[in-house]
């Protein structure tokens, strides 16, 4: 039994914290909301220096060959300081490419970070929905996965994917398309004919998003199994869960510090049960989320059949935890917490957008139920 960080993992986490601390990410997030997009630091060179782009690519192709839990640790550090590092899009894409092996394009460049990939999120079938679906640009109805046509040697892909993390500026788009009724992995060069990426910003300026339209875009078919393609979706769930819990850690730390130093009626406000209990509730949600990150990290290698359940549960708990942590951060700080003067609104904005991306926290919660019902 060992469910704890190895020395290497502690080092990876500390190194990530150190590297990101060189940037004023929170100030930049606020300035970017005011319209100064230039304020956002380009963190990709830092990621390359640290080796993060190649975390999930095998050593044979220039990557570090680490596992999803290591990637989750790095995402957690990004979440702590609301840093937009483009890993949420890049890492699931590299997981598909690495599984595809030799035929995967650009693998070495993607491992070094010379090139950047973005994952086209396509949600695998569940116990009720039998098709592969994508997030719609608006509304509750989910869209169909992109469709590929042609023969495996020469295919083109058409379809529309909304709110794709880190799509703007990516060199390669990697995802799932339906070819003759079956899911296949596809890689599409972002500069190819028929590819349109419309950058979109919503509510949280640190989050780079794009609407991707594919019109007969030429694609390589990757030798990736449906399990690999489904696992990429769940990996994205686990990564955004880890990132969210990183944000929860900071929101809780800042709130606790304030609750100790702010006095009312002659007492620190943290001594009042109403405040103390709301903070312990955030801690409870954080600890539950951490345990589920371990579950997801362990399951990916140790029990792959449980990975969809574990990653979805982590996403579900982490999404609620972040919403609660951000709201608690605001209420503990009183009125100032709801103003531009404070960092709390940045965490609140991050929470509200994150919970709606990649199928939404609600989609992950439904998946937990579906996985358990299907097993019954």
């Amino acid at each position: 039994m060992n469910l704890s960080l190895s020395d290497e993992q502690v080092f990876l986490r500390e190194a990530a914290r150190g590297a990101l601390s060189r940037f004023k990410t929170l100030e930049a997030a606020r300035e970017a909301l005011d319209g100064d997009k230039q304020a956002l630091p380009d963190l990709w060179p830092t990621a390359c220096e640290a080796g993060w782009p190649g975390l999930l690519i095998g050593e044979a192709h220039g990557g570090a060959g680490l596992d999803v839990f290591d990637a989750m640790l790095v995402l957690g550090e990004c979440g702590r300081v609301i840093a937009g590092v483009a890993l949420l899009g890049h890492l699931p894409a590299t997981a598909i490419l690495d599984a595809a092996g030799e035929q995967a394009p650009m693998l070495e460049e993607l491992a070094s970070g010379e090139k950047r990939a973005a994952y086209l999120p396509v949600c695998p079938p569940g116990d009720i929905e039998h098709g592969w679906t994508v997030d719609p640009a608006a509304g509750a109805a989910r869209g169909s996965a992109p469709v590929a046509s042609g023969s495996p040697g020469s295919v083109t892909v058409s379809g529309r994917l909304a709110w794709v993390p880190d799509a703007p500026g990516a060199d390669l788009l990697v995802g799932v398309a339906i070819l003759d009724g079956s899911p296949v992995g596809v890689a599409i060069e972002a500069g190819a004919a028929g590819v349109t990426i419309e950058a979109v910003e919503r509510y949280d300026a640190t989050r780079s998003l794009g609407h991707v339209t594919l019109s007969d875009a030429p694609a390589s078919v990757l030798g990736a199994s449906p399990e690999t393609l489904a696992a990429a979706w769940h990996l994205a769930q686990a990564l955004i869960a880890a990132e969210s819990l990183g944000s929860v850690e900071t929101a809780l730390d800042v709130s606790v510090a304030y609750a100790k130093e702010r006095f009312t009626f002659g007492r620190a406000i943290g001594s009042y049960q109403a405040v103390k209990h709301s903070l312990t509730e955030v801690l409870r949600e954080l600890e539950n989320g951490r345990s589920l990150l371990y579950y997801a990290g362990w399951a990916r290698g140790g029990a792959p059949g449980e990975f969809p359940l574990a990653a979805s549960a982590a996403r579900s708990v982490a999404g609620r935890a972040l919403d609660d942590a951000a709201r608690t951060m605001i209420s503990v700080h009183g009125g100032i917490g709801a103003t531009w003067e404070h960092d709390a609104p940045l965490y609140f904005r991050r929470a509200q957008l994150s919970r709606r991306l990649l199928g939404g926290t609600g989609g992950a919660t439904d998946r937990v139920a579906g996985e358990l019902i299907a097993q019954s």
């Binding site: 539950n288 579900s316 937990v368 097993q375």
Partner: protein
Amino acid sequence: MDLEDTPEQAAYRAQVRSWLDEHRSEAPILQGPGALTDEDEIIAARRAWQGKLAEGGLAGVTWPKEYGGQSLGPIEQVLCSQEIARAKVPGILDSIGVGMLGPTIIAHGEEEQKSRYLAPLLHGDEVWCQLFSEPAAGSDLAAVQTRARRQDDGSWRLTGQKVWTTNAQFASFGLLLARTDPDVPKHKGLTMFIVPMDAEGVTIRGLRQISGEAEFNEVFFDDVALDGGSVVGGVGNGWGTALTTLMFERATIGLGSDGMGYSSTRFAAAIAADEHARVDSDVRHRLGEIASELLAIRFTGYRTLTALQKGQIPGPEAGLAKVTLVSGAIKAGDLIADILGPDALDPAGEWAYMISFLPGLKSAGGTEEILRNTIGERVLGLPPEPRLDKGIPFSELRSKEGAAA
């Protein structure tokens, strides 16, 4: 990161499993065909089974060898409990005695007390009960009012009332926290006693709960005589002795993480069985939220075990898992009752007992509010609430409270 046993742990597990394979047929049957139904017979059979477990080294795993235990660690205790659950045989009857009260006597008792009481306790020949809580002293345990007065001959006279006492109806002895000096601040005037439950003046009354069953008791003491050798841990040291017991209680609760049968798969199966409910998006959302949290505490348990294995002591945050477990099970019971309708409340069915049991469980082992205070203060480092009882003699405190009310 792995969930596997180390070679040493695997060897220990195999040893326990082989003992259970060999002795399984001697275990009392409590459920299904051939199950015992008479309450007295069940208790007698479980006491005998506890004796066999003790002889096989499966009871008192963490007790020192000199008192009949195995001198092993908390990990082995967990492995042993897992194997007992896997073998589908009952565990020890007196888990409070073996898990908390015996270890308190080992830590604070006199040599004569250890040699007189520990072996029969471990073997189930004498069952023990914990006489701490009172109607007006639960979370604020140091407010106990049960009074022990020293007599001229060095013996004691005991008067008062205890409550929430599991197993009192068939216990031979109880470990009792009493006030021996009301004129000092409340934590200082306490003493721990061993009380024979068949002594004159002891009255035990079942305390029925929401389900209608009586799993706890009230125990009344009317001028009960105790000899001078009944004191455990010294006169006036009762609070420190009680803290030892509570520390073992926390370890017991933290490690008994089989989730009491409140598992995500069990609740999901109940919902999967209903063709309409299993595709209802609201039902699925509620199930998904409940199940995610219950899955989380399974892995919190593994994290706790990892800490123990590394020689670290799990902090009070492990207590948060209890909050999650109870609140998750409450929501699950509510969801299942929404689906099944009034049938869920049939006492003969699977769910009515759970639904009735959970509101009380919320306060078991300390109320949720006190738990959140403790965690807020010890884990998050938040300042404590101001207290009005510090440094004030207990006798004055009571009159102050009376005046305030």
